[in-house]
């Protein structure tokens, strides 16, 4: 915990000391979208520490992203995890985001977008927290605002989330407690390169995100901090390494802390 606090402090200092960053956040989405006619492929890996057993819950989420127009993008994802026995398929989800405000200037912008997510999952329901990225069936709708200021990006989102039954696995915490509001606040800083000369330069971004859920039925909540480091190679591929850590919570959660590792590859003008 002490080590984590130190890491957090270092990242905070780094993020505040220079005027600069990026908005390709690791745990949240910015208001900006992909280019039209482009496709992104992601492999999202969560390695979460299960509190009771001490074992690692591994979630694998392959994701396909499509830039439909410059303003609209869609994601499709599949959910796998080793929570039951072995690594098994548990469900799938769809996500769409539409940018409706763009106030752009050279090397800066303020943008807003609305998004929606639909997830189907048949895994057992094991916690009060509602998580549509591999745990719960349900839907989510929300709004995102992102400010880019040269190398620094700040983004925030608010969304409403509703959980349903996971097939024959019922949502056991009652209809009242199946609704929640998610809040996020993200900051990202472009650290490297200091001066751009080439698309082949490796980019490094440092990010810090706060992720929170408030259950509108029970009034219970969680707040997590999620620092991450991101590398961009050849201006097409991404490696994100993040760590999610619960800061405070009253919601029942089985495995809130752990690593998040994503690889992403972007293909431009493919269709």
């Amino acid at each position: 915990m002490r080590l984590f606090k130190h890491a957090l402090a270092i990242i905070l200092v780094a993020a505040c000391s220079k005027a600069g960053a990026q908005e390709l956040f690791v745990f949240t989405e910015p208001a900006s979208n992909m280019a039209t006619h482009s496709i992104g492929l992601r492999l999202n890996n969560s390695l979460m520490n299960e509190r009771v057993s001490g074992r690692v819950n591994y979630h694998l989420v392959p994701e396909l992203m499509i830039g439909v127009t410059g303003k609209l993008m869609m994601h499709g994802e599949a959910f796998f995890s080793n929570r039951s026995r072995g690594l098994g398929f548990e469900g799938a989800g769809a996500y769409a985001k539409y940018r409706f405000i763009s106030n752009d200037d050279v090397q800066r912008h303020f943008r807003m977008a609305v998004f929606g997510r639909l997830s189907a999952n048949n895994s057992d329901i094991h916690q009060e927290e509602i998580n549509l990225a591999g745990h719960n069936s349900g839907y989510e709708a929300g709004i995102i605002a992102t400010q880019l200021l040269h190398k620094l990006a700040i983004s925030s989102s608010v969304s409403f989330v509703k959980a349903g039954d996971n097939g024959s696995n019922k949502f056991v915490y009652g209809l009242q407690n199946s609704r929640a509001v998610n809040y996020t606040l993200s900051a990202g800083q472009l650290v490297l390169p200091r001066t751009y000369t080439d698309y082949k330069q490796v980019n490094m971004n440092l990010m810090l995100e706060l992720l929170s859920q408030f259950n509108t039925g029970s009034g219970r909540y969680y707040i997590d901090a999620a620092p991450s480091v991101q590398f961009i190679f050849n201006s097409t591929s991404r490696l994100d390494i993040g760590y999610r850590k619960e800061l405070a919570a009253t919601l029942l959660r089985t495995a809130p802390d752990g690593f998040y590792i994503r690889v992403e590859y972007n293909l431009f003008n493919v269709y």
Binding site: S32, A35, G70, R99, V106, Q107, H109, F268, N269
Partner: protein
Amino acid sequence: MKTFILSIAVLLIAGAASAQIRSVSIQASGLTCSMCSNAINKALKTLDFVENVKPDIQTSSFEISFKPDASVDFDKLRNKVEGAGFFVSKFIAVIAFSNVQVKANAPVTVGDKSFLFINAESTMLNGIKQVRLLNKGFVSAKEFKKSGLADIPGGQKLYHAAI
């Protein structure tokens, strides 16, 4: 009458007027990172009349050269930037002029395009000039609003410009 005779004389001496688009320089707004710049770079390269794109990631700028004898479409260039998720904040066409007469409030024709120079009095254009487009979508939204210029629909290929 004097001017008319002089014009005729100039035409006779200097030969026919001509103008040709040599290259275009675009600055895009709304981005910093190289992945965003690359999305624009690759989108511009898909246009059939584009020969090469030379990006400057640091300034979000792109120098675009064209295939010989290709018909250059400014609106398609702009649409590629917007399709990549960004906007054009500066659009400069580098045009080679030879004996092209500019008169106040009269458009100058270059190929299939017409340019209304907002800052040029009667003058004769010769040599390579940088022509900055001022239409909506070719400058930042803020700058267009400030200019007070009328919005010309894209299909008309008529451009307000500064030289």
